[in-house]
Symmetry: C2
Subunit: 153 residues, 2 copies
């Protein structure tokens, strides 16, 4: 991945894009914060989960909190940065609900405080419009890069 396009998408995925990482975030957001719950609810191998948790804690996305001294027991809680990944989970869920589930069935429904089922939409903060392809222009900020690749190859 050397010499690739400099990009926050790639940087974010380098952190939370490994298998299971975003599912860990899903679980802790739902309140399943203990190791064995994560193993059961995600279905990940225990050693892999151990590695992911360590990485997410090191990155400041999760916090390892002791909830019992003797025996020592820990749970993993999302930090503020972790909670701010929820929009990613919501857009993934919306896409899956729309494109992967047959018959409009949703495996999980999120209810918003307004009383309706949450259907997340991404809007521009400035104008409030729903963001659509074709309404965007990309401006790479790194010399030598254009929207479609390196200018000087």
């Amino acid at each position: 991945m050397k010499d690739a396009r400099p990009c926050s998408i790639a940087d974010t995925l380098a952190l939370v894009g490994e298998k299971y990482s975003l599912l860990v975030l899903r679980e802790v957001s739902l309140g399943a914060t203990r190791f064995d719950q994560l193993v059961r609810n995600i279905g990940a191998p225990r050693d892999v989960l151990t590695a992911r948790l360590k990485r997410l804690v090191d990155a400041g996305v999760l916090e390892k909190v002791e909830y019992s001294d003797r025996p020592k027991r820990y749970e993993y809680r999302p930090t503020q940065a972790g909670l701010e990944l929820e929009p990613v989970l919501h857009t993934l869920m919306a896409w899956g609900d729309r494109h992967l589930q047959e018959g409009g069935f949703r495996p999980m429904v999120l209810e918003h405080t307004c009383g309706h089922e949450l259907v997340p939409q991404v809007v521009c903060r400035e104008c409030g419009e729903v963001v659509e392809h074709g309404h965007l222009t990309a401006h790479p900020q790194t010399p030598g890069w254009t929207a479609t690749g390196p200018a000087v190859a």
Copy 2:
């Protein structure tokens, strides 16, 4: 991943969650649709990229389009379903810009047609409010599941 929580997030990640898949989507959205562009801009091994492209085409997220007969040459274009993954890319980019880049530097700026830099926000389609943690309640639709795990374990 057997017996895991039924969930559209997991289903979507099973499709586009492998290493490089979302970066492929980023590139084709930006207009870099050819194999060698993808290799250069993403920095992925060629054989891995070949596998990812096949999977994304099979899933209907990309389309393999011939752009030259003799010699036969193909490019990969996003389908409608592929373009609808852009909200995922935007939320990932926003998180990275906020939490990973020092000094507020953005490696890439997206300009919205309204004239401003795009700062994507996820809102509830019904009420228009920005979605925040604590304003949501999860309702699993699968018997035997609660928000935190299987009810009968």
